[in-house]
Amino acid sequence: MMHDVTVKTRSKNVGTQETPTGAGTGRTSGAGTGLYQLTTRRKAGLHQGPSRRNISLKSQAISIILSVVFMVVMLVGCKDTTREVTLRDGTFSGFSSEDDTAAYGEVTVTIQDNKITDCRFVTWQADGSIKDIDYGKVNGVVANQDYYDKAQLAVEAMKQYAQQLVQAQDLEGVDVIAGATIAYNQFNEAVDAALAEAKK
């Protein structure tokens, strides 16, 4: 049963680790590492060096090496900024953690040419069903119209989240939305997980 499979692969998102904003920034800190190591080595060389003349020659040589290293680093850096984060082609899923009713979100994104071409968001409930046209019914019937309408509004909202992601290609360009619902937070979390898969 498909549901069983998803439960197995689902994990609480504790400790998902990634570079901050993708390859570009990762490369930047790489440049920092290079600089740090070179200056440290150079420092060591200075202390061992026998004369000032020798030091001057050494520092000239090292300046040139530093220059070349920086040039390479910056060229790589430039290339990175134009390419930005690369997403693999394919279909990727991500899951959210559970809410207070043990329901969790599943996002499936389709990537083509580094773009999100399709996004689907469903919420799995504790009984193994998804929140759809029956969500808000009690034993298969609409017991309370107000309750059912509200539930269906939530289902409609879930579709909108997915459509908006395809249109905007990112999550509103903000780190968090104050006042967002649990469903939106689950969507957000599942999108992060799915895109992290696509970046691997």
Binding site: K12, N13, V14, G15, T16, Q17, E18, T19, P20, T21, T25, T28, S29, G30, A31, G32, T33, L35, Y36, T39, R42, K43, L46, I55, S59, Q60, S63, L66, S67, F70, M74, S96, S97, E98, D99, D100, N144, D146, K150, L153, A154, E156, A157, Q160, Y161, E172, G173, V174, D175, V176, I177, A178, G179, A180, T181, I182, N185, Q186, E189, D192
Partner: protein
Amino acid sequence: MPCVPQTPLGPLVSRDLRPAPPVLFSRPVDRVWLMMLFTKKKSRSRAAHEATAAPLKATVSFIAMGTMMRFCAYGAQAQRFLENAEATTVELDRLLSVFSPHSEVSQLNEADGAWIELSAHTAAVLSEACDYSAQTDGTYDLAIGTLVNLWSASKQAGVVPTPEDIAQALAPCSYRTIERDEQGRFRLLNGARVDLGGIGKGYAADVLCAQARQAGVSAALFSLGTSSVGAWGEKPDGSPWKVGLKTATTADIATYGTVCLRDRFLSSSGDWEQCFVKGGRRYHHILDKSSGYPADTGLRSVAVIADSGAQSEAYSTALFVMGLDDALAFYRQRGDFEAVFLTSDRQVIATPKISTSFEFTGEDMGYHLLPYNY
């Protein structure tokens, strides 16, 4: 020898690089490369000093305080820090929740006026909440538990409470019924009940940001459900945390603006949360103590930005209940917070000092940004 001025280099080089011997960067060619490196992107100096431990990002999501928590942090210790942060939040929930009969707050509520000894956290939240209740003249009031319980039961049953029920529930609703003795114990008089739902998440944000500072985490963002956000530090690229402000509807997730936060807190109160409809009227969860009914002041949402999470959360309720005019008068009187208001006629007003970090984006959706002195 051509003299390259020292000043452009100085402030851009992070402290960790400075101890290197001066001869290292004394040659003009070195300086040129360094300047190019550091001026291309200012944040590189920070990236360089964190280079030994490249900024890792860790995230955690979980349910606590009746809502969803989403935390994220950068730094070598980020993952372990977030595990501790989750434990802290769960512990605070255990102490402060009115939904758990064993919480310290429930013990205080059930004590029937007896003195109760409380842990440091619970005592601190209660003290802060009493201060904000007094400052806002009871428009935010922690001792509103009996009224909250009445409306919760009404929502569950789908009925509107009678004026008699409301008058009865309102009687003990005042922060003045809370007493603290010299030993730090608390008691409630007149059958009053405290509800920390309007301050607990903001207080938790304060505690978590303080922990992030102590743990040496370079940056962290704490989103505590629908109400409070705590932002510590800045992202590894040197930019501040960006918080979207949501329009006043349940269904869509459209935002009408963003606020940039650095070492600050934002809490919002909106009338579309936890509401129910009866007889064509909508009843929401922000209660006005002066009437006993949900506040009806022409505001849909208030976001408060402050240096304290507890203050921002308590004030967001208070300003919502005051209404726009009184809220702006209160702002001018205090001056220790900033706010963004969304009115029921789709107008947005931001206080002057926040305008540099607030970006209005709601024009396409028919929202209007009004000047502060509208």
